[in-house]
């Protein structure tokens, strides 16, 4: 078990190396440089050249890559040109916002998907099952940005139930109860959008797990011992079917990250996805490379995590 985990982690190193090289070269090809945005009537072209040389702008790419990767290993991804702070601090700040959003979304996903999946499996082929299947089909097919826009339009602008941008209202004292409540209030609509889009896999999986379990021997045994069907569902089938759902956690994390670009842009939520789009606009290389690396790393980590959880909950599955 540990051996395979260590091997998988070691395998991630070459993958991350190739990814870093790929992304670094790509970012260097981007037109314009971050300094062109800084030109004011006071800065002389000579001073600008000096800045460029100082930042290592004219070094060959492999020298720049070497500097970047050695610094990255020490947690230093350089400074953001637009925000004037260290990239790690910036991503840390934005990442925390994205983290809370993802956490709330994950909670919503399971709150919606588990009851629906169980009901659909239990009352297979009923009207309820068909409605749930229809719901999960629509949530699977609808593009993230279309659903988000329609939600902002209806719940944000027409019904005015939810705020349409930001993480917290201005003028609230940090640390107070009202402040935290307001923060959660801002998270609700984006998290709900996320959750609706993310439920499909869990519902479908849970449904088919439960349908499979119905014919298993342990269910027959329980029934013949005289346990009422209701209890068989809540005690026996549910527990057995729920374990594999835990394994989806890794993929859920990855899915949430991919969606964050659209959701955060539309809801004006200052997380990592929005930061990425803004950095692309302002040619902020150091932020772009660090973010793509981080997303690539999290994708790898997500699939590793899923495999590990899967092998813990179901020892028949071996990872290698």
């Amino acid at each position: 078990m540990w051996k395979t985990i260590v091997r998988r982690v070691l395998l991630m190193i070459p993958q991350m190396f190739v990814l870093s090289l790929f992304i670094f070269i790509l970012a260097k090809q981007m037109p314009g440089d971050p300094f062109t945005g800084l030109i004011t009537p006071e800065t002389s072209p000579a001073r600008l050249e000096e800045l460029r040389i100082q930042a290592g702008f004219y070094d060959p790419w492999y020298v720049q890559y070497y500097h970047w990767i050695t610094n990255a290993f020490q947690g230093d991804f350089g400074r953001s040109y637009t925000y004037k702070i260290a990239v790690s601090t910036l991503i840390g700040e934005r990442g925390l916002n994205t983290f809370w959003l993802s956490l709330l979304s994950a909670i919503f996903i399971y709150l919606i998907a588990i009851p629906l999946g169980v009901l659909a499996g239990r009352y297979q082929e009923s009207f309820l099952d068909k409605s749930i299947t229809l719901y999960s089909f629509i949530s699977y097919a609808i593009p993230t940005f279309v659903l988000s826009l329609i939600f902002v339009f209806i719940f944000g602008y027409k019904l005015m139930w939810f705020p349409t941008s930001g993480t917290v209202d201005v003028g609230l004292e940090p640390g107070t109860m009202a402040y935290y409540w307001n923060k959660i209030y801002h998270l609700l609509l984006p998290a709900l959008t996320y959750a609706i889009l993310g439920t499909t896999a869990t519902i479908q999986y849970l449904r088919s797990e439960i349908i499979d379990a119905k014919t298993q021997d342990y269910v027959k045994t329980a029934r013949s011992k005289g346990i009422p069907m209701r209890k068989v569902y809540t005690r026996h089938i549910f527990r057995n079917s729920l374990l594999p759902i835990a394994a989806f956690l890794g993929f859920t994390i990855t899915g949430l990250l991919a969606g964050s670009i659209f959701i955060e842009t539309i809801y004006g939520f200052p997380g990592m996805g929005q930061l990425f789009i803004n950095s692309i606009m302002s040619r902020d290389y150091s932020v772009i490379t660090a973010l793509v690396m981080l997303y690539g790393f999290l994708t790898l980590l997500g699939s590793l995590l899923s495999d590990i959880i899967m092998s813990i909950v179901d020892p028949r599955i071996r990872i290698d």
């Binding site: 993958q15 790509l26 981007m30 097919a141 609808i142 593009p143 940005f145 991919a258």
Partner: protein
């Protein structure tokens, strides 16, 4: 009688994987037939309508008529901030989005099928090498990398966009075809062909490929829906088609202006609903095909 016997023998010997079985199963699903016909008419309708539209006339800026409401001055769906007819833009945008998604689907399918069959058929070193490459592409955060690519290409249009998206969308087809070709390549008919001296190329594309057709038609349909989503999504973010070329995504992009989003619904809502209809319809057809191709899920 003899003919019937022959048919029975044929049925027993070859597992029902052919396209005919899929189509036969598909025809039993009424809703799937309706959505298939609906989507086909919709797509053909938009393509034909776009041919008769004067694109230059529609995209001409008429500032006096900006944000005309639907129904006023003969604009059935109103106008945008530059006074351009939204209905005309919707038709042209739909045409562009559909054709782009179509082109991406064709390119990624050719690449994915070709690579997948070669990997699965030859196995060994070739399989290992290309599998590592495929895995690398799969771990990339695709959306981000596509956006970075789009900003690098200095002068890009429809053609470049299709190539960039295709570059990062071939992996799932390649993996699917590889795994199927791997098991198919061990079957007797392949060994028989080999002993008879059939060339590898003929075995791969005339022997194995037709046997994968039912799975591929599902994959292609679902990919097509996915590609509509990717192109419109990128255009929505502002990294797809340039604003001068309407796509369903660039029309929805107007909604990033809060005033348009909250008050000028006719600018972005029709395009959003059209994307939704396309996605639901194509995906439904795809899933019905999948059910038809999967013996376990047949309606009967």
């Amino acid at each position: 009688m003899e003919q019937q016997n022959n048919e029975m023998v044929k049925f027993e010997n070859s597992p029902p994987t052919g396209m005919q079985v899929v189509l036969r199963e598909f025809k039993k699903d009424k809703l799937a037939i309706i959505s298939f016909l609906g989507i086909t008419f919709l797509i053909i309708g938009f393509l034909v309508a776009a041919m008769f539209l004067n694109q230059e006339e529609i995209l001409k800026i008429k500032l006096l008529e900006r944000y005309t409401e639907p129904g006023v001055n003969g604009y059935k769906l109103g106008t945008d901030e530059a006074g351009r007819d939204m209905l005309g833009q919707l038709v042209i945008g739909a045409k562009n989005s559909i054709l782009i998604a179509f082109a991406i689907t064709i390119i990624t399918s050719i690449a994915g099928i070709g690579l997948g069959i070669v990997m699965g058929y030859y196995g060994g070193f070739i399989d290992n090498l290309f599998m590592r490459i495929t895995e690398f592409f799969m771990t990339l955060p695709n959306l981000m990398v596509i956006i970075v690519f789009v900003t690098i290409i200095p002068k890009y249009g429809i053609f470049e966009l299709i190539l960039i998206i295709s570059l990062f969308q071939w992996m799932s087809t390649a993996r699917l075809v590889r795994s199927k070709a791997l098991s198919e390549g061990r079957r007797d008919y392949v060994s028989a062909s080999k002993t008879m001296g059939t060339s590898d190329f003929a075995i791969m594309f005339k022997g194995i490929l037709p046997n994968l057709s039912s799975i591929l038609i599902v994959e292609l349909t679902l990919n097509f829906a996915g590609n509509v989503g990717i192109e419109t999504g990128l255009s929505f973010l502002g990294f797809g088609l340039p604003p001068s070329t309407p796509s369903l995504g660039t029309l929805v992009n107007y909604a990033r202006n809060p005033i348009v989003l909250s008050e000028k619904w006719w600018v972005w809502l029709p395009a959003s609903i059209l994307i939704l209809i396309l996605m639901l319809g194509i995906n439904y057809v795809g899933q019905a095909l999948r059910r038809a191709a999967d013996a376990k899920q047949r309606i009967g």
